[in-house]
């Protein structure tokens, strides 16, 4: 005979009470296990089992919540709420899923990398260059972390006059990708866009850096209207966010080195520019001086030639004049006769060394 105190429910009420009990007693749980029977229905719903050596639980989630590639055999950690469905089937409603362990992380990374690569998201043609000297940059990072402090220190050491807007976000954990996506969206919706979007995080374990392999985050970086630079972890850490960014920095400090020039280097460059101007001016002045000297030399040469010509003409003239000199004719034995050349006339005969006065005896034609 049934005890009167035994609870009695309708089926629907019973399911509701069980679900309420589950919610009170467990709420949200994280479960680690291996994925089996993974499938996507109608392009919207994801079903799979999570299992270990002796147990298995059904899992359900919507496709848009699936941020990383998952396949059978992959070890994952799911964050989920346990529930009984209206049909009495026990199931985990998944809120998030992430690969667990080195092998699964790597597998998931490679699957997503291949998918995005096929879409051309890593293509070099998509890469935009950063401005040489930006005036306004946006930073997405955990502003309380060492990576951000390193970035700001290097930035201040290298450059000044820069407007830096920093968005504080989680850079690891389940909520990190979504926070970073919101920050990217925030900066991309500004009336005046920053010239560079810097996304940085210091070093950490593979699991810590997993947020930067989140598919929606990678797509948000790819879609950013603002050119992006991503510096995550250390030199050896490569994330999909790095690969899709316009510029990859090895570390947050390296991001600062890439984003702004070094004021010391620029000061040296200024000196070089002013020296170049001086060299050019000196070159032109030297050129003018050389041209002037050459012209002067040409003028002198022409003058010399002219003088030689005149001298030569003078000699010739002198020779001609000499030939016409009456004295020279007298020296050759000729004489100049002046006076009345008629019979009885008196004439003067001039020779080289004497003058003879004589009377004309006769004049006859030859």
């Amino acid at each position: 005979m049934a005890n009167d105190q035994t609870p009695k429910f309708s089926v629907s009420d019973f399911i509701a009470v069980v679900n309420q009990s589950l919610e009170y007693s467990l709420g949200t749980v994280e479960i680690e296990g291996e994925v089996a029977s993974f499938k996507v229905n109608q392009g919207k719903w994801v079903f799979f089992d999570i299992k270990d050596a002796t147990g298995s639980v059904n899992c359900f989630m919507s496709l848009f919540q699936l941020r990383v590639p998952v396949e059978d055999g992959m070890k994952v950690v799911v964050r989920a709420a346990p529930k009984i469905t209206a049909w009495g089937k026990f199931s985990l409603t998944i809120q998030s899923i992430r690969p667990s362990g080195e092998g699964s992380l790597k597998k998931s990374f490679e699957l997503l990398k291949a998918k995005l690569d096929k879409e051309g998201l890593f293509s070099p043609e998509r890469k935009r260059s950063l401005p040489e000297i930006p005036e306004h940059i946006a930073v997405i990072s955990s502003t309380s972390a060492a990576g951000y402090a390193d970035f700001v220190k290097i930035l201040n050491d290298r450059w000044g006059g820069l407007k830096v807007d920093a968005a504080h976000v989680q850079v690891q954990g389940d909520s990190a990708p979504e926070q970073m996506i919101r920050a990217i969206s925030y900066f991309n919706q500004q009336e005046t866009l920053p010239e560079v979007l810097v996304i940085i995080r210091g070093g950490g374990s593979t699991d810590d850096l997993a947020a930067f392999n989140d598919e929606p985050l990678v797509r948000a970086i790819a879609a950013s209207r603002i050119p992006t630079i991503v510096g995550v972890g250390h030199e050896v850490d490569v994330s999909l966010a790095d690969m899709v960014a316009d510029v990859r920095a090895a570390t947050p400090s390296n991001a600062a080195q890439i984003v702004v020039p070094d004021r010391k280097e620029l000061t040296n460059l200024l000196g070089q520019l002013v020296r170049r101007i001086l060299v050019r001016t000196e070159g032109v002045v030297d050129g003018y001086l050389k041209d002037t000297k050459v012209t002067l030399r040409q003028g002198l040469t022409m003058l010399d030639t002219r003088v030689d010509l005149l001298q030569s003409q003078l000699v010739t003239s002198r020779q001609v004049m000499g030939a016409y000199n009456p004295r020279a004719v007298l020296s050759r034995g000729y004489a100049i006769i002046r006076g009345e050349v008629a019979t009885g006339g008196i004439i003067r005969i001039e020779q080289q060394e004497r003058i003879i006065t004589a009377e004309v005896k006769d004049v006859e034609a030859i």
Binding site: P131, I133, N156, W159, H168, T267, L270, L273, L278, V284
Partner: protein
């Protein structure tokens, strides 16, 4: 209206200096104008150096929350 020299950014001043250097290295160079232009370039270089030494970055952590 033209920007006063002190209102110009370092980037704008650098561009202006590059243009002056290009004038010196180009075909339009005239010795008569060189002295004046060199004076401008030298002044600009000094201003940029001063800016580089004295300008501070303005870092603002946004109040906006991105966690929800």
């Amino acid at each position: 209206m033209l920007k006063q020299s002190e209102q110009k950014t370092v980037s704008e001043k650098m561009n202006e200096l590059s243009e002056l250097v290009a004038w010196f290295e180009g075909d339009e160079f005239e010795l008569e104008q060189a002295l004046e232009t060199y004076g401008k370039a030298e002044k600009l270089a000094a201003e940029i150096e001063h800016d580089l030494t004295n300008l501070k970055n303005e870092v603002t952590v946004l109040k906006e929350k991105f966690d929800a």
